[in-house]
């Protein structure tokens, strides 16, 4: 397992991030953490804990009220288009992020926006689809894909932009068992290829075994940040279900069960 050495330069730095919405809801309260290169980070918390709001800050979709996000030491808003290429984002509802009628065209949407030439666009599209195992469906209508395939298509759309970091918001929601396995395999493949993975989920039992680090959020703040085995015991008190009895079983034994590929 790799655990980010905070002495080396961080790929992504979140510094004292705060965000409130009209009406006074404090979505994020002084959130700070670092993400290292090649790390597999899981951010978890119950509904309304601020996970998705945090995710939208990492790609510059939301501007914080206070604090900043740095990518390789530079504030993300200095060159937001470059940052959006490097920090890819897969949203919870895959159907809503599909903007084209065919699989190939949808993957090419990002490279098209970057004004990359057609030959390179095709190359990137084919490679991304090959990586997610959907190359044979390049001409298929996106509506005919299953839930797991749609999510993999969303990942391919991000891969075509050559990102370093891939952020996945609730990647397993609304998926059946084979769908979860497909997506999980995909995430592990990307991590193995060297991508930094930030997986935002409350379904820890599906993925935590593979993670290097776990951040628990509650009411817009980070309440724990450490390797999974050390803070797993605290998960239930923040409303996150774990597959086992934390009072009777050792955390590492429970952690062993936390993968739907096992």
């Amino acid at each position: 397992m790799h655990f980010f050495n905070q002495k080396t330069m961080a790929l992504l730095e979140v510094v004292h991030l705060s965000k409130s919405f009209p009406g006074g809801t404090e979505a994020l309260k002084d959130v700070s953490f670092l993400v290292g290169e090649g790390e597999f980070l899981v951010i978890s918390g119950k509904n309304g804990s601020g996970k998705s709001v945090l995710m939208r800050h990492l790609n510059g979709l939301y501007k914080p009220d206070e604090g900043k996000v740095l990518y390789r030491g530079t504030p993300i808003f200095k060159d937001i288009l470059m940052v959006r290429q490097k920090i890819g984002m897969v949203f919870q509802n895959s159907s809503s992020q599909i903007v084209s009628q065919t699989v190939g065209k949808d993957v090419a949407f990002g490279p098209e926006n970057l004004h990359i030439n057609a030959v390179e666009q095709n190359k990137r599209t084919n490679k991304a689809l090959e990586d997610v195992g959907l190359l044979d469906k390049i001409d298929h209508n996106t509506r005919t894909l299953s839930g797991g395939e749609k999510r993999r298509l969303a990942i391919a759309g991000i891969l075509a932009m050559n990102p370093e970091i891939i952020i996945l918001d609730e990647p397993f929601s609304n998926l059946d068992f084979p769908g979860v396995q497909q997506v999980l395999r995909q995430i592990l493949f990307l991590h193995k290829k060297g991508h930094t993975i930030i997986c935002i989920t409350h379904e820890l039992d599906k993925v935590l075994y593979h993670a290097d680090r776990l951040i628990l959020m509650d009411k817009g703040s980070i309440v724990c940040d450490n390797i999974p085995g050390k803070i797993l015991i605290k998960a239930p008190q923040y409303g996150i279900r774990i597959p086992g009895n934390i009072e009777k079983e050792p955390p590492l034994l429970i952690l062993e069960r936390m993968s739907w590929l096992k």
Partner: protein
């Protein structure tokens, strides 16, 4: 898995499929205007053309029956509305024919043209106009073409949910309508928000660069045939 509906791009080969979207779009606009201007035989000719083109795309019979119901109901409404105003059966039937032909032509365009191609064609038409953000309008039209069928699907799901909760017993038509419209609107807004975020996250800006193919001999020939048929419909 969703099936391909009539209001979606269909992978089935069709003579219209390889035509340049600008030609298809121009002819659609021209025919739509003509449908409401030509005399009876001209209208019959346009309806025949629309019907042949529509069926050349081999539409799914199941979806045809399903969507046909809605079109039939609208057709009946148009018939009675026109008959009520004009008191003439032929005029009322012609109004229905005009409506059906318009729908068929629209479905021909949608089922044979990718929304991205429609976007490019719209951009090409709007680009010369001053004070208009051609790329923004073109993108909006593309997304509309993309999401209208999904909205219809969402509306169907909401309808089913209402039926399962005995909406038939509700006598207040206003309440009946709001229980459909409010969740539908909320779903549209939510979806639009996520789509906008997802597009932005993939570096979408309004300074988009479009590459359009050059028109081929086939495109010019199709335009000539289309214009010839349009001229004939005026003369008839």
């Amino acid at each position: 898995m969703a099936e391909i509906d009539l209001f979606h791009y269909s992978p089935v080969p069709s003579p219209l499929k390889n035509l340049d979207p600008r030609i298809k779009f121009s002819l659609l606009l021209l025919y739509t205007v003509l449908i409401y201007q030509v005399h009876t035989w001209g209208l019959v000719l346009l309806t025949a053309i629309a019907t042949i083109l529509f069926f050349s795309g081999k539409p799914s019979l199941k979806h045809l029956l399903f969507r046909g119901k809605g079109i039939l109901i609208l057709g009946i409404l148009i018939y009675f509305a026109t008959y009520g105003a004009e008191k003439n059966t032929i005029t009322a039937l012609l109004s229905v024919l005009r409506f059906v032909t318009t729908v068929l032509l629209g479905m021909c365009l949608i089922s044979t043209t990718l929304p991205e191609e429609i976007e490019k064609a719209v951009y090409w038409f709007l680009k010369p106009l001053p004070f208009i953000s051609a790329s923004v309008i073109a993108t909006r039209i593309r997304l509309t073409f993309m999401f209208i069928p999904d909205l219809m699907e969402t509306a169907e799901k909401i309808k089913e949910a209402r039926i399962s909760r005995c909406i038939q017993r509700e006598r207040n038509p206003f309440k009946k309508m709001t229980t459909l419209i409010i969740p539908l609107l909320s779903s549209v807004i939510e979806r639009a928000e996520v789509t906008a975020f997802a597009m932005e996250a993939r570096c979408y800006t309004d300074k988009k660069h479009y590459t359009l193919k050059h028109l081929t001999l086939k495109d010019y020939a199709a335009a000539a045939v289309g214009l010839g048929a349009a001229g004939l419909s005026i003369l008839l």
